[in-house]
Amino acid sequence: MRLRSLMTKGWAISLVCMVLLSGCLSEKEPATTTSGSNTQAATEASGETIKVGILHSLSGTMAISEVSVKDAELLAIEEINAAGGVLGKQIEPILEDGASDWPTFAEKAGKLLQQNKVAAVFGGWTSASRKAMLPVFEQNNGLLFYPVQYEGLESSPNIFYTGATTNQQIVPSVTWLLENRGKKMFLLGSDYVFPRTANKIIKAQLEAEGGQLVGEEYTPLGHTDYSTVITKIKEAKPDIVYNTLNGDSNVAFFKQLKDAGITSKDLTTLSVSVAEEEIRGIGADILEGHLAAWNYYQTTDTPENKTFVEKYKAKYGSNRVTADPIEAGYTAVYLWKAAVEKAGSTDVDKVKEAAKGIEFAAPEGKVTVDGDNQHIYKTVRIGEVGADGQFKELWNSGEPVKPDPYLKSYPWAAGLGE
């Protein structure tokens, strides 16, 4: 009896703790699911808002990247609201947590479209989450703005891709590397859809442009020991390591590469998933001299970027940094706003029609929505990490590059789409 009562007491205490904790945790977010009834009441009362969904992983392994994109999107919404909103109405963001779990993304997307009837959703990071949400948006005729560079070979009528596709990041960077840093390339990536598809493209390109593949390695997501991979790189003696590792593995790889006595002077590495945010988590001393390919850096020299960085830091703290996907998320909100204003309505079909050819002076420079594939024209930039953790731009494409998700304009890429 005594034991029983003790046990119930223990459970009660831990339950109370959990409730208290979860209460504390959800308090800070503006409008999460837990307060669903509140948001509904609020909209019924005012009726003067346009609801949009923001669907990123706020918990789980992807939260590391996605939380900052959410912050940038909220910043854009706040700015637009302060300037009078869209079509005279305020934008009301509804936050959902994809929880780094792809079925959850699909489920929450369905909830946002059917229950909250949002005009558009800004969200996703991994290709897996986008692929999970895609059928939901197509069935409900919703609108998704996806802010991250990805592996291409996709063009859904219900998705706007504001990150780079392969011909705006990977393909030009490989060409640049072959011209400037050597011919022998070692491909290193995490073992999932993006690196494998990207490397398929790179291999076809190497063959066409006179490069030489000396090794190819994939490690599971979250892999933390790179000693063997580094031994293999030493054996293969490449000029360049093309790095498509994603997430925390980058930290382990670069720390251990440095310990093995290999610096950026001995070996060129170019990463496509290491941005300012990741540099902070790895340490600038470790990454100094290594390269990355993106469309935007915090140091990108445009007047729009200067104000963007200032506002972002003012709102979220001076120690925060901006990076490519953060900028793409911010830009996405403004592109949607411009399209809605041009269409004079939030109706999905009208917005899509109006979005064609829309231009916006984004922090990364001028971007234009492509009428055919709903990607955007972006300038390609290759940067080198400096001692302060910021990128120094080594090369850029000069003008925004037309998106070509299926690489139709490259003869060597024929047959990759299958």
């Binding site: 223990g10 918990s59 590391i64 994939y218 925390d248 006595g261 790895i282």
Partner: protein, 301 residues
Amino acid sequence: MEMLILQTFNGLSVSSILLLIALGLAVTFGLMNVINMAHGELIMIGAYSAYVTQNLFASYLPKSWYEGYFFAALAASFLIAALMGCLLETILIRHLYGRPLDSLLATWGVGMMLQQVARFIFGAPNVAVTSPSWLNGGLAITSTLVLPYKRLFIMALVALVLTAMYLYIYKSASGRRMRAVMQNREMAGCLGISTRHVDSLTFAIGSGIAGIAGCALTLLGPIGPSIGTYYIVDAFMVVVLGGVGKLIGTVAGALGIGIFNTLFETYTSASIGKVLVFACIVAFLQWKPRGLVALRTRSLD
């Protein structure tokens, strides 16, 4: 030849890391039979303790002291993780002894809560710990054969922790009481040992060792809210393969997994290597369900 030496060294290094993350679990799971899914988060707490210690040293102490921060960090990681473990044992796990499935679910939940708390305090992105400069670089045997100091340091640290644990468990009075309680709780209680205190202390020690592991891993890996999830499966694998309840088994398990993993990875790839290791473990446990070193006991489970 050089590659062979380097890969042997890498195999030993991977083993030492596995052993470090599994040692704490060998105590909480191996000795106490608590399936502690929050073990990874205790590692995370250790890693963040190192981060905080580093920042404190950088901002409050003279520059010349900075290089020594890592030793203070090791101590802080141990103490903070042990304290967390003690707290966890007192408010939750104590009520779940003898109910392994419940403890699995509850500690899993605690793990997620701790991750979210870390995300709130430190933010979602990774943080950087600058390793002390005396650990940078490596022992150059030839121009291409370099043994990183950090990996050598971790090996030495593991040896030290293992020795300390051995002395404590097998040579001290407190360790003797711990073994008595784990072998036969009722009997030990009858003889006047406070089993409750022993439980708390044992769990705290196991957690503290996880904290040390977290601190050491900042040298090689990422430091973020979800790093615990990368290590938890490996830790359980080592303890289960080694045989629950014996320290020497854990050592053998870590050596086995580390060396075979490196070997397979050298000749295949990291993903395939991992699959092969898991396949071998499954096959081995079919043959010897109790693991490499079986604990002989008279108690009826």
